[in-house]
Symmetry: C2
Subunit: 390 residues, 2 copies
């Protein structure tokens, strides 16, 4: 069996970076920028006032000095003349500073009677002028790849960029398998349960930036599975869940192999989630998740989310483990990397008592996966452990 | 002037919790659950095998014991008979445990010849049976309010909940004002700049769970502003940005007052963002953001995001400040709460040199707002400071 990290690297080898597409800036939040954007203008494009006040010559600035106000400069409407000696121009925040002026006295430091302005307070040294290009200048770059934040969008807008090149969202087809499954809202037979994994995995993948199609539940027959794989046509990634009713993956593996699967790996040295499989299936990558709900979600965090990020061209994709103080002792771990459902509180982190991989209620109460390395010895309260926030 | 916290409380008083709507579970990720959901079934609904193996009587379990295999129980298809003494039923993970059996020997511990099963290894004490209802039982509750996580969705699906009651998304109308503004993609005149705030604020609000309409840029005239407010009809919250070209908010305040604004406050003891205003305008709350890009975004984090959360019925809505070690000394702060653009790295947090509120490039490089209380004394590197992650 291979390790979690080895499995992740093999998975990364199964996918390519998505092609780019153009989207309007207003729709680009959270998308991954694929091409550097260069500013084609300076910001501000002119020296601009940062305050409401009066533009005049700095050499003439002193308390009790008097000026004649000869015009007005507003944002969007400059004063077209030149400020001469003894002259001032009423100016508002964001307005271009008129020619001849190099200082803005804020209005609170002045007194205006008619068109006669007096500086009544010491205006200090600050010019209250933003030089042209102080925010950015032509050629300044917003570099790719980056997940576009609200701040990035504001900056790109200021650069006059109406469209950006972002990674196309990976198309993921989700196939839950099992005769025992019905969809929420249906009436399950006495031996049946509700397909729940698809809902958690879909939400996780969409949050990571993928587009997810939830296909109909496949029955445990080769023909039903082949039909489902047929419906997945066009997907960049096919994710199956389960196949447990006739032994883990027997039918999923057989059906996908009939369709030409080149298997990359089967089984990972981890808990839960051991019976993970992956390979290439035609133009798509394929991952077979275990059917136990918690196993499927843990594999989602450890493998699917990083894989989607990789496809989107994001540079840092591996799950980032944090450190916390254990608030309750743990027994020794077995030979597999163990991701325990856990709760991080102000007094530290503690794993839930029952770690059975069927328990969605425990998973929903968790906010962390506490990671135990293989053969980790018993840990006492107060020791530092690693966890993945969820 | 009022404090940031006072302003936030006044804002909360301007809005009500949104009404609820029903959405399909597959579309409910990230939405805010408004009604408790009670399980109407047990999970699992029957005692189920957690392994592939053989179901038989625990009293008969010992190494070398032999059994006759009388049938099969698969997930979705139970064995309808009863397991008698000396009998076993082939069973797969998730299948109902047949009547008469109370133990599953995993297949790795057995040898099967024809229909004759021998236990070859010591099967230990673990029954490998998940009792009915071990995950949840009828009446177990997923409680509102909560932001629905992928794990919540999986749990709700397992409870057979096809639709959930969530808070309707607040409708927010965004009005950027100013003669100097054109939209990205347009050709700005020599005195003009690009409307950038709307893009950052829209992304921030949508991430918080709102639906945002970006209205056309309003010119600095009462009639243009009144037209814009008219277009905002039906919104739960109207957000204006700027109005700086004729002094902060003069026209926005005048236009909104003509339309019946009941002003709640104007100006907050903070930096940047001082000239914030808010009130009730007909059926909507109204907030006037300052026009400087960084001021607008800081007000977005401090006021708009908490307000949207409040409208969605989320319980903890105030921004949560974190602590970090200062990696570069800071001068004393003035009388206003100061939110400095800062970068948190592994060696601590440092504020950017230039804190001018027009600098989007600095904001885009920031990952934190370093918070200085009013009149905070100078701080040396190594001291602990508070910050808001952005």
């Amino acid at each position: 069996m291979i390790t979690v990290e080895e499995a992740r690297q093999l998975l990364f080898g199964l996918v390519a970076t998505m092609p780019e597409e153009q989207v309007a800036l207003a729709d680009a939040a959270g998308r991954v920028l694929m091409r550097d954007v260069k500013a084609e203008r300076d910001q501000p494009p002119f020296a601009a006032s940062s305050m409401d006040g009066y533009a005049l010559k700095s050499a003439e600035v002193e308390r009790h000095a008097m000026f004649k106000v000869i015009g007005e400069a507003a944002a969007g409407q400059r004063f077209t003349g030149t400020v001469g000696p003894g002259q001032a121009v009423r100016i508002f925040t964001g307005a271009p500073v008129p020619e001849g002026a190099d200082f803005v006295v804020i209005q609170e430091d002045t007194d205006l009677r008619g068109d006669l302005l007096t500086i009544t307070e010491d205006p200090g040294q600050k010019t209250n002028i933003r030089p042209a290009g102080v925010d950015f200048t032509i050629g300044d770059t917003v570099s790719a790849p980056r997940v576009l934040s609200p701040e990035d969008l504001a900056l790109l807008a200021a650069m006059n960029v109406p469209f950006v090149s972002v990674a196309t969202k990976p198309q993921i087809a989700l196939i839950a398998t099992g005769n025992e499954l019905v969809m929420p809202g249906e009436a399950p037979g006495p031996d049946q349960i509700i397909a729940s994994n698809s809902f958690g995995i879909k939400a996780l993948l969409e949050k990571a930036g993928a587009h997810v199609r939830m296909l109909p539940v496949a029955q445990d027959t080769l023909s039903s599975l082949e039909t489902a794989f047929g419906l997945a046509e066009g997907a960049d990634l096919v994710v199956t869940i389960g196949g447990a009713s006739v032994g883990d993956y027997d039918l999923v593996a057989e059906a996908s192999q009939r369709l030409g699967l080149e298997q990359s790996f089967y089984k990972v040295l981890m808990r839960p989630g051991k019976p993970l499989m992956a390979g290439r299936l035609g133009d798509a990558a394929m991952i077979g998740l275990p059917g136990n709900p918690v196993s499927a979600m843990v594999c989602g965090y450890l493998f699917l989310v990083p894989l989607v990020k990789k496809m989107l061209g994001i540079q840092t994709v591996d799950p980032i483990l944090h450190q916390a103080i254990l608030s309750k002792a743990l027994p020794p771990n077995g030979p597999r990397e163990h991701y325990m459902r856990a709760r991080l509180e102000s007094d530290g982190i503690r794993a839930f008592e029952d770690q059975d991989s069927s328990l969605l209620s425990v998973l929903a109460r968790s906010n962390a996966l506490l990671m135990r390395p293989p053969n980790d010895p018993a840990r006492a309260a107060g020791e530092t452990v690693s966890y993945l926030p969820i």
